[in-house]
Symmetry: C2
Subunit: 310 residues, 2 copies
Amino acid sequence: MPSSVEIVEVGPRDGLQSWPDFVATADKIALIDRLADAGLRHFEASSFVSSRAVPQLADATSVLDGVRRRAGMRLSVLVPNLRGAEDAIAARADALVMFVSASESHNLKNVNRPRDGSLEGFRDIAAAARARGVPLHGAIATAFGCPFEGEVPVSEVVRIARHYADLGVRRITLGDTTGMATPRLVRERMRALRTELLDLPVALHFHNTRGMGLVNVAAGLEAGAAHFESAIGGLGGCPFAPGATGNVCTEDLVHFLHEEGVATGLDLDALIETARWFEGVLGAPLPGQVAKAGPRLARSDPGAVATATG
Amino acid sequence: MPSSVEIVEVGPRDGLQSWPDFVATADKIALIDRLADAGLRHFEASSFVSSRAVPQLADATSVLDGVRRRAGMRLSVLVPNLRGAEDAIAARADALVMFVSASESHNLKNVNRPRDGSLEGFRDIAAAARARGVPLHGAIATAFGCPFEGEVPVSEVVRIARHYADLGVRRITLGDTTGMATPRLVRERMRALRTELLDLPVALHFHNTRGMGLVNVAAGLEAGAAHFESAIGGLGGCPFAPGATGNVCTEDLVHFLHEEGVATGLDLDALIETARWFEGVLGAPLPGQVAKAGPRLARSDPGAVATATG
């Protein structure tokens, strides 16, 4: 197990993209600033996709412009094509994240293109990023299973990862888009990528759709992953669609990692405060548990607590 | 890792005891009967504590009387004292569960007695059970931490477990009463009990209060535990007290175990149906996730699903 890991906060992008009400740009900026105060340095801050497809993230440029940049901070953004990449570079994004699904039908549904069309388009993005010295990351959606096709062969994940490696990405992210990852699949995929890609860092991005977010993180840790993506409060999915639960919750993840003796450099109390504050901003409860219960050593007053016998 | 484990369903007891509205006896019986149809054989069916303290379980005798007994089925019940033990034996309970907290202040709060008073009282229960040939189990509450005292020394857990072993219990349960267990503590406590108690089976009873239910199960599996207590739907706590989340959810646990290749003998689809049915009985959503999202290979129709870009 690694003695420390890096948490990438994806709440502002993956967490918010399906939120039904538009979240004010100032609140998105304040969220990132507060999380940076809690120690977070790497954010997936927004997305330069079509604002028709994702109106919630239409303010990507303003968000990047408004966040207080600090030493070591990286604001990554999703880019679907050359146009998005150019806009992102102009907005001073610190890294560009390309994305493609490991399963054909999800990629068609998501970006209306076959996977090979997506991979082909990455060349222009990579060229633009190289020309401007902006780091590239490569994300693989449905990397642990596809809601339309079922199981996804590890060979497809490896094929796309190799393609990303050839384009010079600094990191690969395996995205568990609909919460289909299991510890077995995490171990299998990590092993295959380490064999194929040697030391290229792999970030793991889990959703807690079936309650397995943290067991998958634990499997990833044991397999040597040192980068995990999560969202404050467990943001993600849609609060009005029961079952569409969100990303692994940042403060729950940090609570777990600290209890396992894995350092994150983050201030758990500040994360909890931020999650509670952001619930107020959204006017809706979020699925994170530690923000509700408090850290495990938070003391209760016996006089104030009724415990039923047994 | 064991190739199979036993799940003990505690929903009818621990899951319901704090539920604010009285659940009809017929519904409690139907719950156990349906879960037995799904393959469950061991239940914590009710509690013979004072009906003033836990009015929800005042119908313990009627529940035991109404459940259709099947081959291999065991209906365990909690008993706080000799009177409860005698009532439970008269009601044809298949096993009696004694309980004491590992921390003094929780035991005082829970049963208004110091721990040593509880341990002393177990002698009469054990004598009554022995005389009637009814198996005894021993539960240790706050075994991973106390909401009033904080950390609980493993030596206290071992001391109580040894006491139980001397009384001839067939099983020890470590109860994570308020969701303070961590994988580290699970490994430490399992190791200590195996050293002290050799082959006496240890059951693990986790709450998902801080989202760590399944990572603790995973740690327990690796440490050799083969008995896990859980509640259908993740029943437990109070639906009106945010943060008072319940037991590890039976169907989420079974989904996880099956995906890890650990057999349970249970029918996951039938468990999911039962959880959904019981949400209707209670008129409230339960925290279990798999009943909302479906098993991981449940297919979606691309035409019916909107996926946002990325």
